[in-house]
Assembly symmetry: C2
């Protein structure tokens, strides 16, 4: 294996993507190659103790016949994560999980350093070390999915803020009188761009767009509206579906202009399912952001797609081990 | 002098507040005491060469019979400032001033280190070293005046961003479809809270509030609307004037919620003329920000008034010398 030759020894990390449905675990080389992987059901409904046991079982299984040296274990988790302390607080969809020291539980079992961060920060570190951020000094990682997540890289380090809660790009206000957001505020970008909000909006608007190809693609069944179907319709020339993507980019660009004016960081890496809209979305974000951001920043705006797709969570978590926070 | 005893020698800084009308220059001790000061007309209309000469004359006059040791010269300037290079670009109200290396011009004349930053950053450093930020690790300085300026302090350092343009709190979008802002974008907080926008709005609204005490205080002359008059009317119980202050705080709070959700910084220091609205404004900001910001940050929200009032520019500029950037 090339990595062994390069480093002169078997130096690997365990990367863990702790999801609501599955726990994905991989053995990852310093160059980001997954040499072995394993998936186990999260069983989130059975409470924190079961989840932690499942993580342990998964790691033991993965490492069972492995002789490589494990540098450490990286975990990307939903919820509010305190990387320093190792705690994970209130992950959505993990009933009964209040505040758990996941880091300590895993490090005691395996006697290894455990590096823990939230999903979006892990995605940012993944792109920084293995993806489209490899040559960047500073950038904003944005994950477009059920929610809108964010990770801020400044001078090749994750920015965590005073108490580890920084980078909540999804909760940038774009209209202080806008629709209510899940977080309790109004007009957050997530309340427009989150998957659920986006499909709900399309569901309503389709009543006025009865000639849209999208309606045919979903057999008039509104429950089948997904970003993938919207993209399919747009790719086939449907004007309404195309306008949904352009409008989404316009709104994201407005949110990003705020970020760039505060941080003077002008490169964004866009990942997550909704990023599947591809080039039309990225172009629309760029147009909107460039038109709104302050003049000295305009010429520097860059919108890149995420490079890590499958196994981004495993790779990003392993990057925490190799790179630190 | 106490400072001499403390430091054991005559260690002073020259602090310069470069304004559109006057250049204020002070000799400042490490504890922020101004022992001597001098003011000279900027003569901005006569171009950059004249302005720089006036700064030089001012410093020479100030130091003429002084025997203290000058550690360095600090300058707070309008416009886009590159602290590292010493350049000042396009200050509003300085006709013919494209991009000038002000730092070099002054350091060559006096053979001293020159520290240069923009007004709002200088206000932030002033509060950090001599004001209400003395015991804070991280905070956001906001200056409410003609525009809305900002300075970001992270771990007791100014955050400048990739190219020195960070901290533009005034150009946070609060409504992507809102009124056009001077910067070219729409719905920036400055387009609601900047002095000019604010008085213009009151001018329009007074047509519907003909019983407002404010109309009497300005003798029905709309050109006399100022934050001071609005405050006077509110203090005397005028409901409309009070509502203007509360609404301003609500909007500022929405902008600050975005900042806190991005940076996980929850303390704001508010200065500038419009901050003269005092406690009702600060309370309204706090209410709005607390209601909108993400849950883990809510209990930590603090809104403080600036401590430095008169000579804030001179003191802040001198703090650059004692503290660095």
């Amino acid at each position: 294996m090339a990595d062994n030759k390069m480093s002169g020894r078997n130096k690997y990390a365990v990367g863990i993507d702790l999801g609501g449905t599955n726990i994905k675990i991989g053995l990852v080389s310093p160059s980001g190659k997954i040499t072995r992987k394993y998936s186990v059901s999260t069983q989130a409904d059975e409470g924190p103790h079961r989840i932690i046991e499942n993580i342990k079982i998964g790691i033991h299984t993965l490492l069972a016949k492995s002789k490589v040296h494990i540098e450490g274990i990286g975990i990307g988790s939903p919820g509010t994560v305190n990387s320093e302390k190792g705690t994970v607080e209130n992950p959505p969809n993990f009933p009964g999980w209040d505040k758990v020291n996941l880091g300590r539980a895993i490090s005691m079992e395996f006697e290894k350093d455990v590096f823990l961060d939230n999903d979006a920060n892990v995605a940012a570190i993944g792109e920084l070390i293995f993806g489209n951020g490899m040559k960047l000094n500073s950038f904003i990682m944005v994950t477009l999915g059920t929610g809108v997540g964010g990770g801020i890289i400044i001078n090749r380090k994750l920015y965590h803020g005073d108490f580890g809660a920084a980078g909540e790009i999804g909760h940038i206000t774009i209209n202080y009188n806008g629709p209510k957001c899940n977080c309790g505020s109004y007009g957050c970008i997530e309340a427009y761009a989150g998957n659920k909000y986006l499909t709900e909006r399309v569901r309503k608007e389709l009543k006025k767009h009865r000639d849209s190809l999208l309606l045919k693609l979903i057999n008039n069944d509104h429950d089948l509206i997904t970003p993938r179907k919207i993209k399919e319709a747009a790719d086939k020339g449907d004007k309404y579906a195309h306008s949904v993507i352009i409008d989404l980019g316009t709104k994201l660009g407005a949110a990003f202009a705020t970020v760039s004016n505060i941080l003077d960081i002008s490169t964004y890496i866009i990942g997550g399912g909704v990023a599947g809209f591809g080039k039309p979305l990225l172009d629309s974000i760029k147009n909107s952001l460039t038109s709104r951001v302050l003049k000295p920043i305009k010429p520097r705006v860059k919108i890149l797609p995420a490079k890590l797709k499958n196994d981004a969570g495993i790779k990003g978590a392993s990057a925490l081990v190799f790179h630190g926070y």
